[in-house]
Point group: C2
Chain length 163, copies 2
């Protein structure tokens, strides 16, 4: 419908003498980027019903998990630039989902916290997230899902090394 589509060739089975150049599916990096963007697209589409973007959701999740923190900490945790976090936090604050309080130990900082409204919305969103994830991972068995999660975690944890 919208996502990915390229046909696959499970077994190359080349006629002898013909060397076909490697296709896109041969690259793990390409598959990672493409499946990853599909994952994001799927989730973004679901969040549209709540008028939120994946960045909004990630920020709410991080605040729920770690409690109050500065905007820099939050941006770093969510993986976006602090500059681009400003409008994201603005919108969440306007909707009463989080609050910016003064940090008493450092007056440059805002202590960003989740509100009760934000927490309630998050509960609803978590269910939607599980549904979306279920749809995404349908082709995999439980064991395969665990394996994929472990491998991605390994890449994610080492992330700082990339570039």
């Amino acid at each position: 419908m919208m996502g990915m589509s390229a046909e696959r060739k499970p077994s190359p089975s080349q006629p002898p003498g013909v060397v076909e150049p490697a296709g896109l599916e041969a690259s793990t990096g390409y598959l990672l980027a493409r499946v990853g963007s599909d994952s994001r697209r799927l989730w973004a589409h679901t969040l549209l019903e709540e008028d939120l973007t994946p960045h909004h959701y990630s920020a709410l999740i991080a605040l729920d998990q770690r409690g109050a923190m500065s905007q820099r900490q939050l941006s770093h945790l969510v993986g976006i630039d602090p500059r681009n976090a400003v409008p994201v936090i603005d919108q969440l604050q306007t909707r009463g989902l989080l609050a910016r309080n003064p940090d008493l130990t450092d007056r440059r900082r805002n202590a960003v916290t989740l509100t009760e409204t934000g927490r309630r919305l998050l509960t609803r969103l978590r269910h939607a997230a599980e549904d979306a994830q279920e749809r995404l991972l349908t082709p995999l068995t439980t064991t395969e899902r665990r394996s994929l999660h472990a491998l991605l975690t390994k890449l994610f944890a080492a992330g700082g090394a990339v570039q």
Copy 2:
């Protein structure tokens, strides 16, 4: 340096009674999207030296592998919208890397083919792609890489089912 960064907690080891809400790293979909975008970023950064984007590269690869095809086929194969493929193909044509020839069986279509110049450039780019991939997958063993590739292929192949 720029990519991902969130700290991990290999073992949760909660104090009894405290239930910490699940964080972002608990979601396979999130990890997929984030590691995927890092993969794309890394590759895009490498391609910048040749003044190309990942889409340009994907198009060249697909043409090299499958030969002449229409713009729609090419777009579909690469996973981008035909509308957005127009400027991509324009730029590649301007640089003499591919050619748009009339399709004799259907005058609406362009038969897009790789030029010799395009093929030569591609040879160079393939090496760069291998290097980038090596950097990306450094944290994984050979077995783990094979496993990841297989899992992603499974998700990719089933892609049409998503959404």
